[in-house]
């Protein structure tokens, strides 16, 4: 079967790629687009390591067909920092040791950013439920939750 041509935007840049009809968005990112920052932990939408946003909405890229990207805005971990300037969440994760092995970190950061965009002042419980789709086996979540809460507080300060 011949490949399908897809035109989309990834991290604000127009891109085109070819894919099989059955390819997932995760396959397209990690394959033809060469963006391996998005990880595959399960391929069934259970671990959140492949989290991206599509037009600002959080999705597991393993559950999305690559052809569905046509005409939409995709955002991945590679677009989170602006040059040398890390996103406040990225910086806070480093300062507070909110990662150990780091394999879940890209997905957790994308989910956390999506959460804070919707809710800039979340409670601990809201953070915990907001990140419940992202498995982390190393940290026990404590430092991740604290880093997200502190980033939210800092970002609210900056806005004010």
């Amino acid at each position: 079967m011949s490949k399908i041509h897809v035109s989309t935007s990834v991290n604000g840049e127009p891109v085109e790629f070819l894919c099989d009809a059955s390819a997932s968005m995760l396959d397209a990112l990690r394959g033809p687009l060469g963006l391996t920052g998005t990880k595959e932990g399960c391929g069934t939408g259970d671990c959140g390591a492949c989290s991206i946003t599509v037009d600002g909405r959080l999705v597991c890229s393993c559950l999305m067909l690559a052809v569905e990207a046509e005409g939409h805005e995709i955002a991945t971990i590679e677009g989170m920092a602006q040059g040398e300037t890390l996103h406040p969440l990225q910086r806070k994760f480093l300062e507070m040791a909110a990662l150990q092995c780091g394999i879940c970190t890209p997905g957790v950061l994308i989910s956390a950013r999506a959460l804070l965009e919707k809710n800039p002042d979340p409670t601990e419980e809201e953070v915990r439920f907001g990140l419940a789709g992202n498995l982390c086996r190393c940290t026990g979540y404590d430092k991740i939750v604290r880093a997200v809460l502190e980033t939210a507080a800092e970002m609210r300060e900056t806005v004010r």
């Binding site: 990880k39 069934t44 507070m96 150990q100 092995c101 970190t105 990140l131 419940a132 992202n134 979540y141």
Partner: protein, 751 residues
Amino acid sequence: MNDMTNKWIGQRTIRPDGADKVTGRAQYSADFAMPGMIHAKMLRSPHAHARIRGIDTSKAEALPGVKAVVTAKDVVDFPLDKSVMLGIQDMRWMCRNVMAREKALFHGHPVAAVAAINEEVAAAACALIEVDYEVLPHVIEIEDAIKPDAPILHEWNKFEGKPSNIAGTMVLKTGDVEKGFAEADVVIERTFTSRPVHQGYIEPHACTVSYAADGRVTIWSSSQGQFMVRAMTSLLTGVPQSNIRAIPAEIGGGFGAKTIVYLEPIAVLLSKKSGRPVKMVMTRDEVQRATGPAPGSLSTVKIGARKDGTIVAAQGTFYLQAGALPGSPLRGPVGCSFAAYAIPNVLSVGYDVVSNRSKVAAYRAPGAPLGAFATECVLDEIAEKLGLDPLEMRLKNSAKAGDKAIYGPVFGEVTFKETVESILHHPHYKAPLDKNPSPGVKRGRGVASGFWYNAGGESSVQVNITEDGNVVVTTGHPDVGGSRASIANVVAELLGIDHSRVSVLIGDTMTIGFSNLTGGSRVTFASAMVATASTEKVIGQLKERAGKIWGIDAEAIKWEDGMALPAGDNAGKFPPLSLKELAAKANEMGGPIGTQVQLNTTGADPGFATHCVDVEVDVDLGIVRVLRYTAAQDVGRALHPGYVEGQIQGGVVQGIGWALSEEYLYDKNGRVDNASFLDYRMPVCSDVPMIDPVVIEIPNPKHPQGVRGVGEAPIVPPLAAIANAVHDALGKRFYALPMSPPRVSERLEQP
């Protein structure tokens, strides 16, 4: 070199690999690609137990796009009659684990592998391989596997003269338990069961391998030891170690299970046959079905104590599930269960039981949580019966310096009491707990302790001074949880320079000296010790250089704040020479500055932990929730407190999953029924509270910075602590894990 005035040791510095990990640039095992690379898939047994009468790969080989097919006949055979050990792994079992030989021993056991132009063709070719199976009766559970009429996995294995599924035993003994129990005022004996649990790392096993025309092999994979990858691959393929360059990718979690290989030798054989680089990536289903897990257990523990709480005798019998091939971690429960206590009469016995499930792999303090689950619950019951505080009872029986440990050595320092006391005096333990907050809801509090050996072993560290006067440190240990950050702190401290001037990276098997596995809570202990020796050597070189420049003896020079200073009689005679100035003059004063130190490190003192937990039970739904958790541990010295706390918090939450929700489920055909993250239920963020780590720092006198080791001990107490808390809430004891909603409901319905 360990005090409160330290500038970098004990600081929460930014980890050297941090920026790459928060921006998606860090390369994990599945992120690597090579030009001309092809893809491989494994054909796995559809049966739990079957003799392999023959394998016909001709149709698969004829499929267009297929480049190579491998079966057990391509893997080096290690005959059953002669053990060949690599560390704790017997290559007889490893060669049969990576590829089924005489028999398929579990559902998902690899029987063949195909490399093809893409994964789809490789999978299609796997489906064309014809395996002639003679399906045999299977056995999954320990209780069934040790019955006299059980299906036997390995006919050659004898126990007490008869073919058996008991593949090994371990016995530790001191005193006379019968005499001890006779002296006791109270004796309690209970039997406990637990289910296998998976290590649950988020990164599936993966590798990319290139076998070049000259027979040289490059392996890019994530593991807990690139030297283990090299050695096992060499043994299983026949390629000499000197021809194998094993490059450690970033590792996405291991927790012990990446201390053995599954894919690398097979990918090497496929690459050799096809002449192409080969990439192999497991699916999550394959990971859950065919790697790890930690063993399930059937344990009986009997403890006798006097009225005042003095323990006079203890006996433990631990059956552990090895999976399909021998080698369960008996040393964990047999050696650790009673180690924290001074008990005159102990008999601790372990049995290694094979059954038709995937071969177990190490998981954080291998086996020790299973022993502690039984022992620490029985202790709780004794304390209850005697009307004693369970922590006071532990204090009363704590082992002391000079006691002979049941597993052999005489204890140096024993810092168990400090962990118990810190919980005893913690606000958590004293806080009032409303045990009946609302109808249908019960709350309870529990405590438990844990012990782990910790370990030293081989480690190599290079320290090189760059021409511009900065520092590159290379270690031989994969970094699973922030060890590079700890090493950077140590080297910056010793050299007296800013932390940002030190880069730490992990060498491959051709660029750094032999270094043993990342595991057993040994890496920070061992690599900090060797990094210290290496850095001190470099400081010696720097002083020599300054001495040459000044025309004085190196002994008359001290190193302080990143500078050589004339000392003693020469003090103040010359202006200090900085690291940058000495580096700039390196070549005219004797050449490059740097060294490698390789040591077999010793002196790792054991780790002790004591935990306190509050739970809430929804009586109608059987749901147990953890409300509050405090974990005290003596870590010796926290080189980087953030990652020390992280080890404790992560270990505790893995323990919560083990206690409450995680288990392997099998169907009647012996197939794993829950091989996904949806059905294998690990704790998610909303399942757990903050975990409060109480980091006790009593420096280990045998380590330059006082390090003991952190990662294992935190997973030892949670199983029992939670079971004791559930008992406090409900007044009923749970002797089986997990305490999942169906099991809790079932138990609540019993009288």
